[in-house]
């Protein structure tokens, strides 16, 4: 019974848990209205977009994806106005239907939503320090992340991203003559780990083949490294992912592999190849 559960259900459970932990234990002051706007806004947009672009499909299963997107927005994006969150939710969901190539969207929905409102509205921000650098949270993300990634089969992406980013930061630390605790402090950031485990691994928008994913992860790690250390952008990971997202198309063209489908993961629905956004 448990085996047949869609991995998205796990993901929803974990993201929901992180949200509650953030509010309860990490001193986040989120407005309930803003969080509710993210959830409802994503769901409504998903239903509308689905009815326009894929009218023949049952839109309800895809609400799981929209819930993941909305929880991602609620966890990462900070704003004091529900309207800004609604805009982020709208951009996030519609990006899946508008920015498509060969029946695959290539922007991570929550990521494009965040980048859009932070750069365009000036009314939103991301708090990279919000999780702190505690072991406890490090282990919590690691445990939850590995469970989901094992099911989705995208652990390679997280490992490649974290390993290459850690190596670049280590090289810089050695060059600058920083003590190792500076490097450890950078790498223990809860926000970085959450990004590596839950955002950069979205199986629907990242390259399909493993080799392509490895290249892709290293490129994103490199972009993050440069933006953070040479352009002093505190939330560099989000911009790095955004800028590099279209690269998915090129990498998919070079390394071909079957597209990811949530249905395929479930037993007894093996022959179903239809994709849902």
């Amino acid at each position: 019974m448990i085996k047949s559960l869609d991995p998205r259900v796990y993901q929803i459970g974990f993201l929901g848990l992180f949200l509650l932990v953030g509010i309860g234990a990490r001193d986040w002051s989120l407005q309930p209205m803003v969080v509710a706007t993210a959830i409802i806004g994503c769901a409504v947009n998903q239903l509308i977009a689905k009815s326009i672009f894929q009218p023949k499909e049952n839109p309800l299963p895809s609400l799981q994806s929209s819930l993941i997107t909305s929880l991602g927005l609620a966890l990462l994006l900070r704003t004091n106005h529900p309207t800004t969150m609604l805009l982020a939710a709208t951009v996030a969901i519609w990006s899946k239907f508008l920015f498509r190539w060969d029946d695959k969207h290539f922007f991570n929905p929550a990521n494009i939503g965040i980048v859009a409102v932070v750069t365009l509205t000036g009314d939103a921000w991301v708090s990279p320090g919000q999780w702190g650098e505690d072991w406890l949270y490090f282990l919590m993300f690691l445990a939850a992340g590995s469970l989901v990634l094992k099911k989705v089969g995208r652990w390679d992406t997280s490992v490649a991203f974290l390993a290459s980013y850690a190596a670049m930061e280590a090289a810089r630390s050695i060059y600058l003559g920083w003590t190792w605790d500076v490097w450890a402090h950078k790498m223990m950031s809860g926000s970085l780990l959450m990004f590596a485990l839950f955002m950069v691994t979205d199986p629907r928008s990242i390259p399909n083949a493993r080799s392509a994913r490895l290249v892709w992860s290293v490129v994103i790690a490199g972009a993050t490294f440069i933006l953070r250390n040479y352009y002093y952008v505190p939330s560099a990971v989000f911009y790095a992912l955004f800028i590099m997202s279209p690269l998915t198309l090129i990498l998919d063209a070079i390394w071909s592999a079957p597209k990811f489908s949530w249905e395929k993961l479930r037993p007894f629905t093996f022959n179903k190849t239809k994709l849902e956004a």
């Binding site: 869609d6 819930l67 320090g129 002093y232």
Partner: protein, 459 residues
């Protein structure tokens, strides 16, 4: 069907869960009685950072305690600084911002429970004064020598002799500074090295005694430097070398946008809104010190604390009047500030709340080498939510009570005092028994409505 039920259930649960947590809301009112200024913390530095886009004006306060001739300051800066980018700041402005943003105690006095219409008169109490603080290094005299150190610029600004240095090797820089009489703490080259490799410059200042004497002042004035760089950070690693243990840094960050937070450490709000016993008023500074220490320990000593965040044009309750445009300009505000100088200090009731395009964030960081390996990196946010460290004291009505409602009131006060004692113990870690001893219970209650009381006036 199963999928549909599962999806809808999870959606519903998520919405319900999120709507049930409540953000604590309280009215910002009450009367200001006193504050805890930055002076109560030993080993503390105060800086003002006025920041917009990639432009920064950094004001460093100097309350150097030793002989003025021993004063020296070495600060890594992102770019070379020219003569015109350095200014002498006004110490009073730092005092002003400290007083304006300090954690505060407010008081309420209960009304006579036997009188429903008349309210008790509440007196506004006096404010605490404050003095700025700073961190610094010491210096002597010696001759210069070439050690891979380039003097990019050298100039005098009033009583300060300033050098802008760049270096190739930290050993060379350390030696150069030593030879030139700057008493650099041991292990400095290890800390200087990363700054050199990041191509940062060093702003080095010492005192020209003749000039200093001619100012007629007995204390050093703050130094103010303006620079343009995307680096929005504060170097703290160098300062950790000559400090014995933990150090306090209070940063008043002014931004036209909104709150500023630390990007590479958690920013946590200090406890606020707690109701505490009346006797805390006798030594509010001691109370806040203990409260801060306890929060610091609870957060494992590795967070930055937010003590205040507010639009500079108003406050509620006000610990002092909001800074004027002139004061803000002296604090480094270089953007056009549209605040209203003729501000009416807000009082109870409906009022016009002025707003401006300058927002102040007061961050208090207590740091030690073990927990703060990295320099502080800041980021501006568009968050214009107000926040203040505010503690509430309730005075019971201590007049004669002559009605049946009084019995209930006495019980209510006793319960409240009990709760306040617990709050205080929780906030400060003080012993609850000691706290309870200091609370003055309401004992003046004499029921006088039974009808058997003597009627003669000399009772």
């Amino acid at each position: 069907m199963k999928i549909l039920i599962r999806t809808l259930t999870s959606l519903f649960l998520a919405v319900v869960l999120l709507l049930t947590f409540a953000v604590p809301a309280w009215a910002f009112c009450g009367f200001y009685v006193g504050g805890a200024d930055a002076k109560i913390f030993n080993e503390s530095s105060q800086v003002i950072i006025a920041h917009q886009d990639d432009k920064t004006i950094l004001t460093m306060a100097n309350d150097f305690q030793g002989a003025v001739k021993d004063f020296a300051l070495v600060v890594p800066v992102p770019v070379a600084i020219k003569r015109e980018q350095v200014n002498i700041g006004d110490k009073e402005v730092i005092k002003k911002l400290d007083a304006f943003s300090q954690p505060r105690l407010v008081e309420y006095t209960d009304e006579n429970p036997c009188e429903t219409k008349e309210s008790a008169v509440i007196q506004r109490r006096d404010q605490l004064s404050d003095v700025a603080g700073s961190r610094n290094t010491t210096a002597q005299r010696a001759a210069p020598r070439d050690l891979g150190v380039t003097i990019e610029d050298s100039f005098n600004v009033k009583e300060y002799e300033i050098l802008i240095l760049s270096a190739k090797e930290s050993d060379g820089l350390e030696t150069w500074l030593r030879v030139n009489g700057y008493q650099i703490p041991k292990g400095a080259s290890e800390v200087l090295d990363p700054y050199i490799r990041q191509k940062m410059k060093f702003f080095v200042a010492k005192i020209n005694l003749k000039e200093f004497k001619s100012t007629g002042l007995d204390a050093l004035r703050p130094l103010q430097i303006a620079y343009q760089s995307p680096k929005f950070m504060l170097p703290i690693r160098l300062g950790m070398l000559n400090a014995k243990g933990e150090q306090d840094l209070v940063a008043y960050i002014l931004s036209p946008k909104g709150q500023v937070e630390v990007a590479n450490y958690r920013t946590v709000k200090v406890p606020t809104g707690n109701e505490i016993p009346e006797f805390v008023k006798e030594d509010f500074g001691k109370f806040y010190k203990s409260t801060f220490q306890r929060s610091y320990e609870q957060e494992n000593k590795k967070v930055a604390f937010l003590e205040y965040a507010w639009d500079v044009s108003n406050c509620d309750p006000c610990s002092t009047t909001p800074p004027t445009s002139e004061e803000l300009r002296k604090a480094g505000v270089f953007w056009e500030n549209n605040s209203n100088d003729a501000i009416i200090v807000p009082r109870r009731g409906r009022r016009f709340v002025p707003s401006s395009n300058t927002f102040i964030t007061r961050l208090h960081v207590r740091y030690a080498r073990a927990q703060f390996a990295e320099d502080l990196v800041f980021q501006e946010t568009s968050n214009r939510d107000n926040f203040q460290g505010r503690y509430v004291m309730n005075h019971p009505y201590r007049g004669t009570l002559t009605c049946s409602a009084a019995q209930g009131y006495v019980k209510k006060v006793a319960d409240r005092q009990q709760q306040e004692a617990q709050n205080l113990a929780k906030l400060t870690g003080w012993n609850i028994a000691d706290i309870t001893k200091r609370i003055q219970p309401l004992t003046a209650f004499k029921p006088t409505s039974s009808g058997n009381e003597p009627f003669w006036p000399w009772k």
